[in-house]
């Protein structure tokens, strides 16, 4: 039988991973000064809140234009999807796929992944626990790469400043998109994977 440290009265500091006795729950870690908690506090509620915020921000992020490319005075503001379609029109399939993946596929997959993980904890879907851990690590690692489109707007707006000949400006969709990315990164940080194992062990006791 594999034991959870908590059932043996041991908790760890989540910053420096120093083990401590359960009596130190809520007190500062003797090594790094971070407050020790047996589990990340309000993990499920905070993760849901940040996840909902990011889902809401994804709507304006996709509907509002993120940048305007003007060439010889002509050019309209374009949304993320219009940017991808413009790349396809210019036969740049590879780069269109990179942008589509980073800006649309990854954010949607992250949201779905976190919802599955939250429901795992809340409803006790603890089959394939190891796959769920992989899913969490994937969501956590991939999250930052959605910032790609923000950096592309930043770089193009800086370099394409040739007066009337060609110019690029950023639009408000970029703010909504950046907020959505930040909220999902924070949501992944708030989630505590140990809750999945707690639930798993709890169910093993009931149905051994």
């Amino acid at each position: 039988m594999q034991h959870s440290a908590l059932t043996r009265g041991i908790i760890i500091c989540h910053r420096c991973e120093k083990p401590a006795s359960i009596k130190q729950d809520g007190q500062p870690c003797p090594r790094c000064g971070t407050h020790i908690h047996r589990r990340k506090r309000h993990s499920v509620a905070y993760t849901w809140a940040l996840l909902l915020a990011s889902m809401i921000m994804l709507i304006p992020a996709n509907l509002l234009p993120i940048m305007t490319f003007k060439s010889l005075g002509k050019g309209d503001p374009a949304t993320i999807m219009q940017g991808v379609l413009q790349l396809l029109e210019h036969d740049m399939l590879g780069i269109a796929l990179v942008v589509l993946t980073a800006s649309i596929i990854i954010p949607v997959m992250k949201v779905i992944g976190l919802i599955i993980l939250l429901l795992t904890v809340q409803l006790g879907w603890t089959t394939n626990v190891r796959q769920k851990m992989l899913m969490y690590h994937f969501v956590e690692w991939i999250g930052r790469w959605s910032m790609l489109d923000i950096f592309v707007v930043a770089i193009l707006a800086a370099i394409v400043q040739l007066g009337n000949l060609a110019s690029v400006t950023g639009n408000t969709g970029a703010t909504a998109f950046a907020a959505a990315v930040i909220f999902t990164m924070l949501a992944a940080n708030c989630f505590d994977t140990r809750l999945i194992w707690d639930k798993h062990l709890e169910q093993l006791e009931v149905f051994p």
């Binding site: 950096f151 950046a178 994977t193």
Partner: protein, 212 residues
């Protein structure tokens, strides 16, 4: 004494998996070896040879590369006799000029401030640990480094540069500058720093120094 009391009176004799909370007996890990959690397979300890020496060298190399990467142009665009260069800071000001203040602050943080802070913190920390010098703010430096770790996004900025180059090939000539090569070096050094960092060893050393 029950099992439970025995364990909780000597927490230092154990390892706890931070991902799944499995309790393990603590054991020595030889250099260049790793220990994974038997239950969830996440990495518990990755013992590096000369971890402190390497992170100090890499952080100093990164600090040297930081300046050309930020001062020299990354890309230069030329068309019909007009030309325009770009540095990382200019992409921050361009967003500011587009009235995207929050996004411009975010780019400033993730592409300039956080990468620089990470290098400074690591150079200070590994320098103090290497020379066994009890100095103020050691555990603060390590804690801040770990918190900032995923908010430095230079490698994503680099991918953004590549996408921008491809987007601009039809429009104008784009030539890479010294800044781009320095940035590539800086990204490699930053990534190597985080792989060479043996966080358990660092925390143990910090604890020894601060106890004195």
């Amino acid at each position: 004494m029950t099992d439970r009391d025995l364990a909780s009176t000597q927490p230092g004799k154990f390892w706890v998996c931070p991902e799944c909370d499995l309790l393990m007996n603590r054991r020595a890990i030889p250099n260049r070896h790793e220990a994974h959690c038997p239950r969830c397979q996440s990495l518990i300890v990755s013992s590096k040879r000369h971890s402190i020496e390497w992170t100090l060298a890499l952080a100093l190399a990164g600090l040297i590369l930081f300046f050309p990467a930020n001062l020299f142009p990354i890309l230069t665009l030329t068309t019909l006799g007009l030309s325009q260069s770009e540095t990382i800071f200019m992409s921050v000001t361009a967003l500011y000029d587009s009235h995207l203040f929050a996004v411009s602050a975010l780019v400033l943080m993730s592409a300039i401030v956080v990468p620089l802070m990470k290098l400074l913190l690591m150079a200070y920390l590994s320098g103090c640990l290497l020379f066994h010098k009890p100095a103020p703010l050691l555990s603060w430096a390590m804690r801040s480094y770990q918190q900032l770790d995923s908010w430095g996004m230079l490698e994503i900025y680099m991918l953004g540069i590549l996408v921008s180059i491809v987007k601009l090939v039809d429009v104008a000539d784009v030539t890479p500058g010294i800044g781009l090569y320095s940035l590539a070096g800086l990204i490699i050094v930053t990534l190597l720093t985080s792989t060479q960092l043996d966080r358990h060893r660092f925390w143990r050393r910090i604890e020894q120094l601060e106890r004195r």
